[in-house]
């Protein structure tokens, strides 16, 4: 492999409080290759949520870091992650997006697998030796590693990776703040937002945890809220940014928009007020007043390194994304909600989501535009070579519109690529 040490080198000057990232890292094909080996093949990656597989036999097919997977709950109730390829000749075994199946049959030669991945039947069985599958070599291949935390299922392609709770580390606290919002369990709602951006994937990492860009990039969304009667609470955008270690980062802050889990806005009326008060009282009984207040009123944009975003804002979005090329990425995004919330709260949550988030919202399309314009700007990298990620570097506690959470990502990104580069 080529030596990429020059194109991944960060410029960090603590004295002058500078943190700069080379723009080559967004366009270089060797960096792209190295990211696949040193990051996507060596990190825990989000596969799906347990609520998508409520009943035995339920499955969804999904692409994770270029691999095709079957994510299913088998007849015995166990949740599995299988590589979606026939052990016989390689054809895609399950070609449906989602459904319920006791068995999966490869249509090419007709091999049949149980929902537990075991080979159940083959046409022309008599032509194979007795004990043909004694070693399990004709069963569906499971993902090398598969673990879950609070309903969030992750896989890894590195057999020797640390266990998931260790990997998540300090980020667990923030996942808990989302998972605890329901007694019955958080649930992914129908309707996946699958889109693409003509930009490098790391731009979406930054953008998803960027508290600095809202006032300008999303001026028209904020205008919309200001111009809509009762859509704002009397709360400012105030909070902190944190480096959570292992490349994870978060911003946590108050904001004026309504939160169906606990921040009422006048537009939701008296019924909404009563509902929200009841939800917050319930959280208080379960977790105490202080934690309930944090869950209800604080927004959190959380990055789990390298590419899982859980943003608990005016609604909750779970978002993951992969590069297909240095300048092109695929995004998958879902929304997560408490299973028990009222029809009113559910409707408000979905409206909140699509007003801001997603490819038809009043904000996300402008993020897409910003990221594409950054990528276009990197055509000039020979003359203009560096991105600046210095904001708030001198502060003991950086604010939510500072950039410590992005420096956490870039530091881990650089550490992993440097280690891989040195090893070769």
């Amino acid at each position: 492999m080529k030596d990429i040490s020059k194109v991944i080198k960060l410029h960090v000057d603590k004295e002058r409080q500078l943190f700069k990232v080379p723009r080559t890292s967004f366009v270089d094909t060797d960096v792209f290759e190295s990211e696949r080996d040193a990051i996507f093949n060596r990190c825990w990656l989000y596969l799906g949520h347990a609520s998508e597989l409520a009943k035995p036999g339920q499955f969804v097919t999904r692409t994770v870091a270029g691999r095709n997977l079957i994510f299913n709950r088998d007849a015995g109730g166990k949740i599995n992650a299988f590589m979606n390829t026939c052990p016989h000749r390689g054809a895609t075994v399950c070609r449906d997006r989602a459904g319920t199946a006791k068995n999966f049959q490869c249509f090419y030669h007709g091999w049949v697998f149980g929902s537990d991945g075991k080979l159940k039947d083959q046409p022309g069985k008599e032509s194979y030796c007795e004990g043909f599958n004694d070693q399990g070599g004709a069963d569906l291949v499971p993902a090398p590693r598969h673990e879950a935390y609070r309903g969030f299922h992750f896989i890894a392609f590195d057999k020797d990776i640390v266990d998931l709770p260790t990997y998540l580390g300090n980020a667990r606290e923030y996942i808990d703040l989302v998972a605890d919002q329901s007694e019955l369990g958080m649930t992914i709602l129908g309707g996946t937002q699958e889109y693409s951006i003509r930009a490098n994937w790391k731009l979406l990492v930054e953008n998803s945890i960027d508290g600095y860009h809202a006032a300008t990039t999303h001026a028209s969304y904020l205008d919309y809220l200001k111009g809509t009667a009762g859509s704002l609470a009397a709360v400012g955008i105030v909070g902190v940014g944190r480096d959570l270690g292992n490349g994870h980062g978060v911003i946590e802050y108050t904001a004026p928009w309504g939160r169906p889990i606990g921040q009422w806005i006048p537009a939701w009326g008296e019924q909404g007020k009563a509902d929200i008060e009841k939800i917050v009282a319930g959280l208080g009984e379960r977790f105490g007043a202080e934690r309930a207040k944090r869950m209800a009123l604080n927004n959190r944009n959380l990055l789990i390194f390298p590419n899982l975003i859980i943003n608990d804002i005016m609604a909750i979005t779970v978002r993951t994304f992969y590069p297909l090329a240095p300048s092109f990425l695929h995004v998958n995004a879902w929304t997560l909600a408490p299973a028990e919330e009222s029809a009113w709260a559910r409707k408000s949550r979905l409206e909140n989501f699509l007003e801001f988030l997603g490819p038809g919202g009043f904000a996300t399309p402008d993020d897409v535009e910003a990221l594409q314009q950054c990528q276009a700007g990197y055509e000039n990298l020979r003359e203009a070579a560096w991105n600046d990620i210095s904001k708030g570097m001198g502060k003991a506690q950086p604010a939510a519109d500072d950039e410590i959470q992005m420096r956490a990502f870039w530091t881990e990104w650089n550490r992993r690529l440097t280690r891989a580069n040195t090893a070769t």
Binding site: R97, A98, L189, G190, G191, T192, Q193, E194, Y195, S196, I197, R198, T217, A219, S220, D223, Y224, G227, T228, F328, H330, W334, T335, A343, R346, K347, L350, E351, F353, L354, E355, G358, P359, G360, F362, T364, P365, D366, V368, E369, A370, Q372, A376
Partner: protein, 161 residues
């Protein structure tokens, strides 16, 4: 009793398409009733999905549709400023359930959006609920169902379909 004819409905839909392509969005908005809805479901949803229970790309009531039009005419709607070029093609127009002053209309559409060196294509079917008012035909509901697996490579529905 007056009935709806296909030429009349087609003229109306072609006029609607021309207003969109000319970015005459206030005039386009005026084609909708005060209780109108405009919806674009996510590409993996069932036909009968509703925005109260499932996540759509767009689910506007008349108020939010008005705000969408207002926003799209601002320079701060960065995705559409500078404005993209669009071409809305409307075809396969069928009048379903014609009533005295309302009818349901099914169409097929292809909309092209060109900006920044890329042309993206949106393909799908639209279902309209039309109503005849004193001033002419008006849209009470427009639901655009995309015949796409996902919004790739389009990335967004920042234009009106």
């Amino acid at each position: 009793m007056q009935t709806f004819t296909r030429p009349e409905v087609e003229d109306f839909l072609f006029h609607e398409a021309a207003l969109l392509d000319d970015w005459r969005l206030d005039e386009w908005l005026a084609l909708f009733t005060d209780d109108a809805r405009y919806e674009v479901p996510a590409t993996d949803l069932d036909k009968d999905a509703t925005p109260e229970r499932s996540l759509f790309y767009i689910a506007d009531d008349a108020f939010r549709l008005g705000e969408r039009v207002k926003r799209l005419q601002k320079k701060t709607a960065f995705s559409e400023y500078p404005r993209s070029k669009t071409r809305h093609l409307v075809s396969n127009v069928r009048i379903l359930e014609p009533g005295a002053d309302t009818c349901r209309v099914a169409t097929a559409f292809v909309t092209y959006r060109t900006k920044g060196g890329h042309t993206d294509t949106y393909i799908g079917s639209s279902e309209y609920a039309l109503v005849r008012q004193a001033t002419g035909l008006r849209i009470r509901k427009k639901r655009c169902v995309l015949d796409l697996d996902s919004l790739r490579p389009q990335g967004r529905v920042s234009i009106l379909l």
